[in-house]
């Protein structure tokens, strides 16, 4: 079953390429900005995955002689108040962001899909009650839920991933539920029901493949959202505790007082965050337009 279900307008002749290749060709041709986003996203992934290889210095390699050095050939992005190389810390920060972003977005997507498919397909009282819980949950800002949970469980990467995944997962279930409700009344679902297919079979074989496009889009945009909220949390000092080089954490804490002497400390982490989230957002927009015509806005 084809995942990317090419719309009628582009399916002139059956293409020998796979759906992935087709998708990327359409991305580059129809959505150049989205393609730029994809490049940024890939670059971010590469930096994160190969941070250990790419980083010229260690994460917490302290060098008192080289405190607060401006950007130079030796330290491309300068050094901080402990003489740690900012470029290396940015790269390791990318690694943390990749781990947290992907783990939390995966957890969130799984939760969204499970809640969305079950409540959307079953409807009735189960749906009604679960939707009220979702309402209640969504009335709390993610950041505040995170702060409260971290105040109880203590800071750490696992807590952050878990709570971000849960929060974004419950919120995103609405989108999947909406898609499921529109698929539920399709002829092929009714015929499967009349053939006596079991509910799990209908959910997995008929509903799930047809709500895959919004799921893929949801996952992509969630990676960006998670990274942004996590950085805010780290900025407030409730994320992965120092000396872990989170991008949000680099802009806060003791480093802040040194920014007035070494303004480059304030620039690099924020620019990286903006660039990565920007790339993911424009990629997500392009994917939505290409994969899921139903969710398409007006251009």
């Amino acid at each position: 079953m084809s995942v990317t279900a090419a719309p009628a307008e582009t399916s002139a002749a059956p293409s020998p390429r796979g759906p992935m290749a087709n998708f990327f060709i359409r991305l580059v041709r129809d959505k150049p900005l989205g393609a730029i986003g994809a490049v940024i996203f890939l670059l971010f992934l590469v930096c994160g995955v190969f941070a250990d290889v790419l980083a010229p210095y260690g994460i917490n390699q302290i060098s008192p002689v080289n405190r607060l050095k401006p950007p130079s050939a030796r330290f491309w992005l300068g050094t901080d108040h402990l003489g740690r190389d900012m470029l290396s810390r940015i790269l390791y920060g990318a690694q943390l962001s990749v781990i947290i972003g992907f783990a939390a977005a995966t957890l969130a997507t799984v939760i969204s899909v499970v809640i969305g498919i079950v409540t959307g397909y079953l409807g009735g009282k189960v749906d009604l009650i679960i939707q009220r819980v979702v309402d209640a949950w969504m009335s709390f800002p993610e950041l505040i839920i995170l702060i409260v949970v971290v105040s109880v469980l203590g800071p750490g990467m696992i807590q952050v991933i878990f709570v971000l995944g849960l929060t974004f997962g419950i919120g995103g279930s609405r989108i999947i539920r909406g898609a499921v409700v529109s698929v539920r009344e399709q002829m092929y679902v009714h015929s499967a029901q009349s053939m006596g297919a079991s509910t799990p079979r209908i959910l997995l074989q008929h509903i799930l493949p047809n709500v895959l496009p919004p799921i893929i889009v949801l996952f992509t945009t969630r990676v960006g959202a998670v990274i942004l909220v996590e950085s805010g949390l780290s900025f407030l000092g409730f994320g992965v505790p120092p000396p872990a080089p989170t991008w949000g954490g680099m802009l806060s804490g003791t480093g802040r007082t040194y920014m007035y002497m070494a303004p480059w400390l304030a620039l690099a982490p924020g620019l990286c965050l903006t660039l990565v989230v920007y790339g993911i957002n424009v990629l997500g927009d392009a994917m939505r337009d290409l994969l899921d015509p139903r969710m398409r806005g007006s251009r």
């Binding site: 009220r132 819980v133 309402d135 209640a136 949950w137 969504m138 009335s139 709390f140 800002p141 993610e142 950041l143 505040i144 839920i145 702060i147 409260v148 949970v149 971290v150 105040s151 109880v152 469980l153 960006g224 942004l228 950085s231 805010g232 900025f235 407030l236 409730f238 949000g248 802009l251 806060s252 802040r256 920014m259 007035y260 303004p263 304030a266 620039l267 982490p269 924020g270 965050l273 903006t274 660039l275 989230v277 920007y278 957002n281 424009v282 927009d285 806005g297 007006s298 251009r299």
Partner: protein
């Protein structure tokens, strides 16, 4: 209309109930015993070192459901959210002291967001695919990605380095010096508002494009009405309805944003209160702020729903 309002209020009850359960259980997520941890970390006020006193202060000497009903009962019947573990002050008193500042900051930020978003969104739509449109859209998509705390940091650091200007850190209360207070809050409101404007701007543009293609808009053009009349009186009013919904949906983001702005600019609002309480593990305050925030968001969304009728007479309150 009255029946509709009553029905909406009744529909709030399950949402508020689940919200209170979420608040209640989140703070009790802790593995093991809060008190053991507090004593072990020496995290408590000197006069409350005894176990029993602490248990009583936290109400932990009762089974879970009784704890919940006592807590809820206190709030509903007496408006009693408990008292701070550190200061001899009631949680609700402290919240009421801090809430107006956060409310003011949030309202100012929302105003900034609308003042930026609606004109730019409308302009983008009526000048679709021109340079102005591209500029507006690029700006909004960029603002979605810029973390507000980074913007806040940049605004603090660079003017200080280049021109030696730094914002006043000492907070000026509104009743002492309204002008100074507004000036002080305008910078964080501007930052927060611009971040928020991005989504509303995109929504305004999309909705305007949709409405501008409607028959009645074409009729208005055909009657020879001026652009201003067509755009503002015919199109904008109808395009704004989904944008208003969005404001309700953005309320949680707005409140989350005020926490960060209050931290950066040292504004003594509810966000800063929460952060201080977390660093002291003052659970009654944490629970109180958590609940008030949830209730506030629910009420904002109710107001948004009710305001539909004012913007769109088509909406019958069924």
């Amino acid at each position: 209309m009255r029946a509709y309002v009553i029905r909406r209020l009744l529909a709030l009850i399950p949402t508020l109930f689940f919200a209170s359960v979420i608040v209640f259980s989140t703070v009790r997520l802790i593995p093991g015993d809060i008190i053991d941890m507090m004593i072990a970390q020496n995290d408590i006020a000197a006069d409350k070192t005894s176990r029993e006193q602490l248990e009583q202060a936290l109400g932990l000497d009762q089974p879970m459901y009784i704890q919940y009903f006592r807590w809820m009962g206190g709030i509903l019947l007496r408006g009693d959210f408990g008292s701070s573990l550190w200061q001899e002050q009631s949680v609700i008193g402290e919240i009421m002291e801090r809430l107006p500042t956060t409310f003011q900051l949030g309202t100012m930020a929302l105003l900034v967001a609308l003042v930026v978003a609606i004109p730019v969104g409308v302009w983008s739509a009526i000048r679709q695919d021109t340079w102005g449109d591209y500029l507006g859209r690029s700006f909004s998509i960029l603002m979605l990605a810029v973390p507000s705390f980074w913007l806040g940091t940049i605004v603090m650091v660079f003017p200080a380095i280049w021109w030696g200007i730094s914002p006043e850190v000492k907070f000026v209360p509104f009743w002492q010096d309204p002008v100074g207070n507004m000036l002080q809050l305008s910078l964080p409101a501007l930052i927060l508002g611009t971040s928020l404007s991005a989504i509303s701007m995109r929504m305004t543009r999309t909705m305007m494009l949709e409405v501008l293609r409607q028959d009645y808009v074409r009729t208005a053009w055909a009657k020879g009405m001026g652009e201003r009349t067509v755009v503002v009186r015919h199109a904008l009013r109808n395009a704004l309805i989904p944008v208003v919904t969005l404001i309700g949906l953005q309320a949680p983001i707005l409140i989350g944003g005020t926490v960060i702005m209050e931290q950066i600019f040292v504004i003594p609002g509810m966000g800063l209160m929460l952060l201080e309480a977390v660093s002291r593990r003052d659970y009654p305050i944490i629970t109180g702020v958590f609940l008030i925030v949830g209730v506030a968001v629910v009420l904002i969304n109710l107001l948004v729903d009710l305001s539909y009728g004012l913007l769109d007479p088509k909406v019958r309150y069924r």
